[in-house]
């Protein structure tokens, strides 16, 4: 088996990420080219005269070939110039930062709950394979995974917000006054996101923990007279985690997509909802900015997850003798 050293692997992944971002920018640029009309018409609206349209087109150099315009656009982005929003008439960049921050906050909180919850449930299921708790858990997580997040969200709102009045139905985070408010407002979206993510990690943790508990090294650890806690947490758990970490990494990237729908359900002012609304309004610079920022977040999450998986695997961390 040929194993490359970690730094090289990381550099490769990093290069791949930059390449992915570049491809995303190409896709984002070409996709909006497909929208009906051109930028001048969108800026000036329906009542624009032919003369004013022509003037603006010359000013914006819209008749230049597409590759040239792409290069100019990308050049601007690299310098932080995402253009001006057509709807809000403000620089896109000033918008994106705040929205990205809120999306990361929601996603981060969801992950923060997700990691201990799903691993814990997985270990619980592994404690007595095919026991009552194991079967009940498998059934519950399978159903949780099968219900679309928009359905989960709406029913959580109905039940916990409207009927029981435990949480606010909408995550209007701008009105939060304290950190407690933030948690209170984000509870439902976070629960919704966890519904879909839990199943996979629980199953991976369960299966790999069951395997590991049957392994020779766990048996030998207890035959060497080590304490059960040490056997469990030092010998079994770290070795069972690798598939769970892979699954969490997949979930973290799923989160970037899942968050779009959840943001819309809870009216949460994040990048996902921003993207959806800008597409509705054909607000091209905003679409480009939001799509790029969201993709960058996704790619970054993947990169971090990849590197984390690498670092946690001693077989990859060290070269074979």
């Amino acid at each position: 088996m040929r194993v490359a050293p970690i730094p090289r692997l990381i550099v490769t992944r990093l290069a791949l990420s930059v390449l992915s971002l570049f491809v995303v920018s190409l896709i984002v640029f070409s996709a909006v080219e497909l929208l009906p009309g051109d930028t001048a018409e969108r800026i000036l609206g329906r009542e624009a005269t032919k003369e004013s349209l022509a003037a603006l087109r010359t000013q914006l150099r819209l008749s230049d070939p597409a590759p040239e315009r792409y290069a100019r656009w990308l050049g601007g982005i690299v310098q932080g110039d995402f253009g001006r929003s057509l709807v809000a008439d403000r620089p896109v960049f000033s918008y994106i930062a705040g929205y990205l921050g809120r999306t990361l906050l929601l996603g981060g909180l969801a992950l923060l709950i997700h990691i201990p919850l799903s691993i814990g449930l997985g270990l619980l299921a592994a404690a007595r394979p095919d026991g009552a708790s194991d079967l009940a858990l498998s059934a519950a997580v399978l159903i949780g995974m099968s219900i679309p997040e928009f359905v989960v969200g709406i029913f959580l709102i109905m039940l916990l917000a409207n009927d029981l009045q435990l949480f606010p139905p909408l995550a209007l985070i701008d009105q939060a006054k304290s950190f407690g408010d933030v948690i209170h407002m984000l509870a439902l979206p976070v629960i919704t996101l966890n519904f879909a993510m839990t199943a996979y990690v629980v199953r991976q943790t369960r299966n790999s923990m069951i395997e590991v508990l049957k392994s020779d090294y766990v048996r030998m650890a207890s035959l060497r007279g080590l304490s059960p806690l040490r056997v469990l947490f030092v010998h079994a758990l770290p070795n069972a985690l690798s598939p769970a970490i892979n699954a969490i990494a997949l979930n973290a990237s799923w989160l970037v997509g899942g968050i779009v729908v959840v943001e819309v359900v809870f009216n949460y002012p994040g990048l996902g909802r921003l993207l959806v609304e800008s597409i509705r309004f054909h607000d091209v610079p905003m679409i480009q900015g939001a799509a790029l920022a969201l993709s960058a977040a996704y790619i970054a999450v993947n990169l971090v997850a990849d590197i984390a998986t690498l670092l946690l695997n001693p077989k990859l961390r060290t070269r074979t003798a």
Binding site: S20, V28, S146, I147, P148, M158, V261, Y298
Partner: protein
Amino acid sequence: MTDLSVLLESRPRPAGRRFALQRLPVSAKVAGLVLLAYAAVAMLAPAIAPYPPNEIFVGSPFEPPSAAFLLGTDSLGRDVLSRTIYGSRTILLMGGAAAGLSASIGGLLGMFIGYRGGVLDEVAMRMLEIIMSIPSIIFALLIVGSLGASAPLVAVTVGLLSVPNVARVVRAATQSVASEDFITAARARGETSLSIVLRELLPNVTGTLIVEFSIRTGYSILFIGGLGFLGFGAQPPTADWGLMVNEGRGTIDASIWPVAAPAAGMAMLVTAVNLFTDGVNRLFGPAEQGGVR
């Protein structure tokens, strides 16, 4: 080593594959029956549904369930039951088409690069990796948003976005078969690559393809439902479950049925697909191919 029998060797025919369905776990069999029921409802929708899906009963919005409207009516006075029944057509057609598209294109691509190997494989894998490192939902929103949402476009987009996932898995399955004697024999007989892929490899990765198709069906249904909910799926007045949930959620206090019916339909459908996937995965999954059990 000029053993002629090698040249005549044909691909192994795995015994018992024909009866594979009988060996499915009970849960998967039940799920299969549920899926058949869904298909029957979708096909017979015009016969089963009490009313046409878009018929508006003026003056009766938000009717509670009654003998006339078993699940009540929605905000426009349309029969929720009929719309839910017709909605199964939309989602099964779109989800099935998307999964079929990704399984067939991804399957062919995976077999081809897995069989040819070399530089082609290396380059193709890198490209697939890059495509997979872009979030599908953004991809889909951009494409559907730019070209204008419609059911066929959404199905094709969702299907194409899953091609890399299928191709990767099928490639791996192909690689484990490609080095076997009957492939060497076929090559020695002078069969073309295309013929080898279709006649020799395909029968041996069928199990993998079935599992992938099943996985992609569940995934596509959820994805398409989500897009429909966001308003980027089938357009009004189509009876589409995602769209129905979106239309009904603002008035959920007036009546829960316009949301609950399609939501339940969706949840049960995906649960059945997932259970079925679990079953076929146990039959044809890597464990079986690796000969573990």
